[in-house]
């Protein structure tokens, strides 16, 4: 399992994946981790306050998300689950936009094209196939561009975008995820699978679903795979960057399994005390992804009080913005439920829309009890 930063904050090197970061880059990672955690905590708080219907906390998975999210280039596309809030922040999604789905004001929230992040997918595993198809489309585009260039003898195109497909340990049992391995290999698509093994699918431990390491499973499909310490932002970043580069070079798919731990509940509706050993949680807390980077920074003298204070302040600012922004998200208009069901609204649906408008209007005309009646 690849590790470049021990839980104690000691930097180790891996001959296969040399990683050279500037001091500012180390600090930027730390800043990201802190902001992501703060955002997540704030969203949990907002749920407790009734502002969100539900929240899926990522606490514990910050390094897996930031390390991989920061490996993406702007032109790449990532396909998240419903828990990749840290990745969303890395992709520049407006933090408040992430909340709409959980507040119940939207089914989506942002532009995949503008952000390079597909929408959250709630049906476990479905997005893995989308990611592979998207990567196949990139290949098709490239081939067509090359053909144009061959006929027009203009220079060769730059490295194409790559695709990053997130899914969980539980999702690795779903037919869709397994079929996506078949397709990715069959077409040598420029896709990297990123499995966040956070040890649980709700209450079911990863061991129930994984009779062998997931890396071996991917390899059995002909897909090279790497296990990384998912609480080590450096290892995650190095491995994901290398895999994406490989995909861009046209060398086909790869899988990264990030071993991490979901420190909170599955969602705010969950009660992990029913299935989780407190000792296990404690052991993982000692491997906290923020703590180890902070130890490293402090050990290297890269994090003075000024820096740490600035990061905390930024986190608080973010939290305040998110809080205010969340509360300000307007409820959708009644007619919004008819919007965008089709690219062009069919007459029969327009009829329903109009009926509904008139029905609602009848209450306005006749306020008080009984409404339309």
């Amino acid at each position: 399992m690849l590790q470049l930063l021990t839980p104690e904050g000691r930097r180790v090197d891996d001959p296969d994946l040399p990683l050279h970061l500037t001091d500012d880059q180390y600090r930027a990672f730390y800043r990201d981790l802190v902001l992501v955690r703060r955002f997540d905590d704030e969203a949990t708080a907002l749920q407790r306050q009734g502002e969100l219907g539900l929240w899926a906390p990522l606490r514990g998975q910050e390094a897996a998300q930031v390390g991989s999210g920061r490996a993406l280039r702007p032109e790449d596309m990532a396909f998240p689950t419903y828990r990749e809030h840290g990745v969303a922040l890395c992709r520049g999604v407006d933090p408040v936009d992430i909340l709409g789905l959980f507040r119940g004001t939207t089914l989506g929230g942002w532009s995949p094209e503008a952000t390079g992040l597909a929408l959250y997918t709630i049906v476990v595993g479905a997005q893995a196939l989308h990611a592979v198809g998207y990567a196949m489309a990139i290949q098709q585009e490239q081939r067509q561009q090359e053909q144009c260039q061959l006929t027009s003898s203009s220079p060769v195109v730059a490295a194409p975008p790559a695709v990053l497909a997130y899914f969980g340990d539980g999702a690795s049992s779903q037919g869709d995820v397994l079929e996506s391995f078949v397709w990715a290999k069959s077409f040598d698509a420029p896709v990297v699978f990123f499995c966040t093994n956070n040890q649980f699918a709700i209450s079911v431990p990863a061991a129930r679903q994984l009779g062998a390491p997931l890396t071996a499973r991917a390899e059995g499909f002909g897909i090279p795979a790497t296990a990384v310490d998912g609480n080590d932002v450096l290892a995650v970043h190095a491995a994901t960057t290398a895999a994406l580069e490989r995909a861009r070079r046209g060398e086909g798919p790869q899988l990264i399994e990030a071993h991490t731990y979901r420190m909170g509940p599955h969602t705010t509706s969950d009660d992990p005390s029913r299935y989780r050993d407190p000792a296990e949680l404690a052991a993982w807390e000692a491997r906290d992804p923020l703590l180890r980077l902070r130890r490293y920074l402090e050990g290297q003298g890269l994090a003075d009080a000024g820096f740490l204070g600035e990061v905390d302040a930024a986190a608080e600012t973010l939290a305040a913005q998110v809080r205010a922004g969340c509360r300000a998200i307007p409820d959708p208009l009644p007619g919004a439920m008819f919007d965008h069901v089709y690219a062009t609204e069919p007459p029969s649906l327009t009829e329903q829309r109009q009926w509904h408008e008139q029905y609602l209007a009848s209450f306005e005309n006749a306020p008080g009890s009984g409404g339309a009646r």
Binding site: L54, G104, I202, V204, R274, D331, L349
Partner: protein, 345 residues
């Protein structure tokens, strides 16, 4: 390995006050105790007791081989249940939410529904598939849907739902004892409704393939008949009550068994009122309500004074939860339809 403590009698004792979810737990427990071929299986049904706690305590009581936490794949759950049924088990599968039944759709439609007919009656499929369904709980996408039409249009399946704790208890016991596959749609927003439950004579008296009453008159009325099922039964009753205050006599019929559809009770009511309003949560087009409307119209054509009207979801994917109250049929929408029905001369 040691022999487990013999499970105590889990049938309801006397009259107990239970939630609808709790009544299902008791029904499952009773069936697990009564028949060691019954196996409860699904995602998180064991240790966690299910995301709605419907299987709470069952794994402790019956062990992890009778109440099985499965891997996370719906086709796998139903496909392995098929194999178990072939060897005489009686699997009770939980699908975590309505919107997650679709990965299992192939196994349900091409295998579960057909092995009995394919085998010329040699292979039975006594599989129960429990699905919490319907909206109104403020959930995210795929957690509020009413996909019953797909299953009701599939010959070979039995589909049922329930609306009170007593009914839920009876329904789950009947489903588990049925020799045909049963999809049991559980109205999730009524899970916390409480009611008295008594041990029913039903599970013993019904034939192994019967599910008990298909439909029942909850309230008789002479002006208009309302038909609801699952979560909308209460809406219909409330609407009838409100209409009564305005001097209208509204009958309410509840459907328990949605497929195969037996409409005698509904048709009889319609012969009295001449007007029928169907209330369900699914998008209107292609809904079960369409079938009921078509069939009742055929059977009671001369009795109908107005076309059968449907109150349901609109023809859109279930909206974000902040809009669900507008999407779901409520008392006002039902009364509006009653007015429209009565407006036909």
């Amino acid at each position: 390995m040691t022999a487990p403590a013999l499970p105590r009698d889990r049938t309801v004792q006397g009259r107990e006050r239970l939630t609808l979810a709790g009544a299902i737990t008791r029904g499952l427990s009773a069936e697990l105790a009564a028949d060691d071929r019954v196996v409860v299986m699904g995602e998180d049904v064991g240790r966690l007791g299910g995301v709605f706690r419907v299987t709470d305590g069952l794994q402790q009581e019956f062990g992890e081989h009778r109440v099985v936490d499965t891997p996370l794949a719906e086709s796998g759950i139903i496909g392995t249940a098929v194999g178990m049924a072939m060897r005489g088990r009686r699997p009770v599968c939980e699908i975590q939410f309505d919107g997650f039944v679709f990965p299992a759709f192939d196994q349900i439609v091409t295998q579960v529904a057909r092995l009995h007919v394919r085998s010329g009656g040699r292979v039975r499929m006594p599989i129960t598939i429990r699905i919490p369904y319907g909206g109104g709980i403020g959930a995210v996408e795929h957690h509020s849907e009413s996909p019953e039409a797909y299953f009701c249009a599939t010959p070979g399946l039995r589909v049922m739902t329930c609306s009170t704790p007593q009914d839920a208890y009876d329904a789950v016991r009947a489903a588990v004892r049925c020799d045909d596959p049963v999809i049991l749609f559980e109205p999730k927003r009524r899970y916390w409704d409480k009611g008295d439950v008594v041990e029913s004579v039903l599970p013993k008296s019904v034939p192994p393939t019967g599910l008990g009453e298909a439909a029942r008159v909850l309230r008789s009325g002479t002006d208009v008949t309302l038909v609801g099922y699952g979560p909308t039964v209460r809406t219909c009753l409330d609407a009838a009550e409100a209409a009564a205050a305005e001097g209208r006599s509204i009958g309410v019929v509840e459907l328990r068994v949605l497929a195969p559809l037996e409409l005698d009770v509904v048709v009889a009511a319609v012969r009295t009122t001449g007007r029928l309003v169907l209330v369900s949560e699914a998008p209107q087009t292609g809904s079960l309500a369409a079938e009921i409307a078509a069939r009742v119209t055929e059977q009671a054509f001369y009795s109908l004074e107005a076309p059968v009207l449907r109150v349901g979801g609109f023809d859109v994917p279930y909206p974000p939860s902040r809009l669900e109250e507008l999407y779901l049929p409520d008392v006002d929408r039902v009364l509006d339809a009653v007015d429209r029905s009565l407006a036909f001369a």
